[in-house]
Symmetry: C2
Subunit: 255 residues, 2 copies
């Protein structure tokens, strides 16, 4: 889970058939939820006849389904298996009641994210209809360096991850990031301001498992200027601690 | 999606490698969320060396991950791809705000399910902490013939599905089912009483897509005897219509 993302990777001729079948699944993304056979073949660089044969197996098993227009879509069977993933639905099962409480008292967006390689992946999002506009989608990826949940996840990530993320930024941004991370670690909370698509503040805190490892981050996202973001720090931390407790974490008491 | 479920099916020696790789994924279920290499091999009847090689590919891609005890678990990458499935997360994205409203006014369980073959599959569940005990899990399967959402889905299912489900019941239950379905179709709502694990009533209504096809069912599940279940029929139907509208459905007006 610490390898750099390789979403754009295309299997070559010599790749085993399993790698090619997985490449067909990876051809789908938020902008391409339905693909024709020709599109599948083109996006994976797998010959049309092989694509047809492999897609047939995926279809028979239920990893793919045919939509109304005969294009392929991701199948429900994949959702069924994915629902057993400890880092998504397993985590969500424990977290959801506490996220709902946070959503109720804040009335804004509540996010739950985990780190996947050098990015954050959104596992849950609860949003009120009137909440400020954000463009994060459950199952979608978010940058680690400019989201609240991302900073929390990055603060406890292995050094090589921090190095790679910082390496992708310009010098002032990388410097700022390196200055922030110790504060996030010390305060157990990250406050981040973001200006697009709408100006928002996010306040995030870490969720830990029974071994004390940071497994996820919880945040609220509120319109910038609506309240001092720090006003949310306590409730977000308390929510993250409640979820951690549900995962078997026993935080050391400082008092 | 209309084939009988074949969850227990094991690939034989002659099955292509893709089918075997998919069988490794299908070896996981709610009772087996973490499997050792030997367990994976045993549950799929695939030789140990082949299991190791195929699991390696699934691990490299992220469909599987290694847990703390070195056992295999379902990976986050599968959740990421599954989040693009129109019948699970796609549907959920549209439905969630309305489900939250229904959850808020009913204060009980709210379920969203789709039909997968001869069973219902739970796509979303919102539950209050104090709500009556139920044993349904997001991503888990439920019988069509003795759940509210199941009856709604069955009422609009193709005849062979109804025949297979009725064929699996004893004669009085099959007879009762065949008597109920026309009522569900006419009233656009199903009321179902269930006694285990706790006595509950569920009230369910159909969600339709832009073509008028029944895509899903919404229900509330309340403790038996807490209120006349029929009292929930209107709000559940209105919620299902709101979700349908979000999916492009324009219901014919009867007034």
């Amino acid at each position: 889970m610490d390898a750099p993302p390789r979403r754009g990777r295309r299997p070559g001729q010599g790749d085993p058939v399993v790698v090619r079948a997985l490449a067909l699944l990876a051809a789908f993304d938020a902008g391409h939820r339905a693909l024709s056979l020709a599109e599948l073949s083109r996006r994976t660089a797998i010959p049309l006849s092989t694509t047809f044969r492999l897609a047939g197996h995926l279809l028979a098993w239920g990893a793919l389904e045919k939509g109304e227009d005969e294009r392929y879509v991701v199948g429900l069977r994949l959702f069924e298996i994915a629902s057993l993933a400890p880092r998504s639905h397993g985590l969500r099962e424990v977290a959801l009641p506490y996220l709902e409480d946070l959503h109720e008292v804040s009335g804004q967006h509540v996010l739950l994210a985990v780190r996947e390689g050098d990015e954050a992946l959104l596992v849950e999002r609860l949003s009120s209809r009137g909440a400020v506009e954000i463009d994060y989608r459950v199952g979608g990826r978010m940058p680690l360096h400019d989201t609240g949940v991302g900073l929390v996840l990055l603060a406890d990530a292995p050094r090589p991850v921090v190095a790679r993320v910082a390496g992708g930024l310009d010098a002032p941004a990388a410097e700022r990031l390196r200055r922030w991370l110790p504060d996030v670690r010390r305060l157990q909370v990250a406050v981040f301001e973001r200006s697009s698509p709408a100006p928002v503040s996010s306040v995030a805190a870490p969720v830990r498992d029974g071994l004390g490892q940071t497994l996820a981050a919880v945040s609220v996202v509120v319109p910038a200027g609506s309240a001092r973001p720090q006003a949310y720090a306590q409730v977000v931390r308390a929510t993250a601690l409640a979820v951690s407790r549900g995962l078997g974490h026993r935080p050391p008491r400082t008092g």
